[in-house]
């Protein structure tokens, strides 16, 4: 009896994997209809990140260490440069409010460009830092409004075991925070030069 059970046990041990996968969720842009004109975006609302084939970063035309990318991205997103009184004024931003940087988080766009030879691990690190910048800002706002981390709320919202009544409540909160700092991360087609 025990032998048979052992045999089955070992079979299941060998053929199975326990871990659930985790990773960075991203949405790809839909194929745009060719006739549509691209919207005009002010230069100051775009934060360009360029990765070359050696894994070096060019952020806003400056050679940057990957470790300071998160801080720079956060400063850009949180800048809130629109003057107070204007309709685009960002009341919750805590940035420098420099007029030459982004107007408000809803307008701020991060544009990522990489080379075909860029290593995947470098790309993931950059993605991780940029998502991290959004998450940190969202956490800050969530703490201020709901006394709870955004990432925590989102995880509970996405968990299939959460009851639906709680989900409805969380959905509103998650949406509200997402509207404060919408994730606008655009990726250009990869180039072969530079």
């Amino acid at each position: 009896m025990a032998d048979i059970a052992f045999l089955l046990l070992i079979f299941f041990l060998v053929t199975t994997t326990i871990e659930t996968d985790a990773g960075l969720d991203r949405m790809l842009p839909p194929m745009e209809p060719p006739t549509e004109d691209p919207p005009i975006i002010k230069e100051k609302n775009i934060f360009t990140v360029n990765i070359n084939r050696n894994g070096q970063l060019l952020v806003e035309d400056e050679l940057t260490d990957i470790k300071s990318l998160r801080v720079k991205a956060m400063a850009f997103l949180d800048n809130g440069g629109a003057p107070s009184g204007s309709p685009e004024y960002c009341s919750y931003c805590q940035g420098k409010r420099a007029p030459e940087s982004s107007d408000n988080p809803a307008k701020a766009i991060i544009s990522l460009k990489n080379d075909r030879e860029t290593k995947y691990s470098t790309y993931i690190t950059v993605q991780n830092e940029l998502v991290g910048a959004y998450n940190e800002l969202r956490n800050r706002e969530a703490q201020r409004l709901f006394k709870r981390d955004f990432t925590d709320m989102e995880a509970e919202y996405l968990n299939p075991e959460t009851e639906s009544s709680r989900k409805d409540d969380l959905k509103e909160k998650v949406k509200r925070i997402q509207e404060l700092f919408p994730q606008k991360l655009s990726e250009a087609e990869t180039g072969t030069s530079n």
Binding site: T17, D21, L24, R116, T125, N128, G132, T190
Partner: protein, 160 residues
């Protein structure tokens, strides 16, 4: 001789193993319930990069997997050392990714077809050219939700 005389000490009695099958069965059922079958053998190197800002891929039935990496030593002779795409059990070109996604999508239940995620399990040493080709193919078939599957860990470890 009294009935209750102490027996002569015969050493320690053997451990009773009658409950062993129960214990083993319990373990067996535990593993049977918490695990999922491996559905494809990896033919490519697949050391994933690390990241901290991850989200869990909750439901396995809503995920389509694409593996990318250099062929393992066993296949390196035949297919070379450049990173390749593995779909199900075969090596494939970027151009066949779209068909594969459509095929897998058609296999899923109707109500799941709009909520599928494509999990990209890419080796950390692969280069972005191949990934961009895959992404373009995914956009063509409107499979826009992707997940770059990673390990949990400090993202800066990737750079070494």
């Amino acid at each position: 001789m009294s009935k209750f005389a102490k027996k002569k000490d015969a050493g320690l009695p053997a451990v009773n193993t009658a409950s062993l099958p129960d214990i083993v069965f319990m373990l067996l059922f535990f593993f049977m319930t918490v695990t999922v079958m491996k559905d494809s053998t990896l033919k490519v190197e697949n050391t994933l990069p690390n990241a901290t800002e991850t989200k869990k891929l909750e439901k396995k039935d809503r995920v389509i997997y694409i593996f990318v990496g250099a062929p393992t030593s066993q296949y390196a002779k035949q297919f070379g050392k450049e990173p390749k795409i593995q779909l199900n059990d075969k090596f494939a070109d970027p151009s066949s990714v779209g068909d594969y996604i459509l095929q897998e999508r058609a296999k899923k239940a109707q109500e799941l077809q709009n909520v599928l995620t494509t999990a990209l399990k890419v080796d950390k040493n692969a280069n972005m050219g191949l990934i961009s080709d895959i992404k373009l193919e995914l956009r063509k078939v409107n499979a826009l939700k992707v997940n770059y599957t990673t390990y949990d860990g400090d993202a800066f470890n990737n750079l070494q």
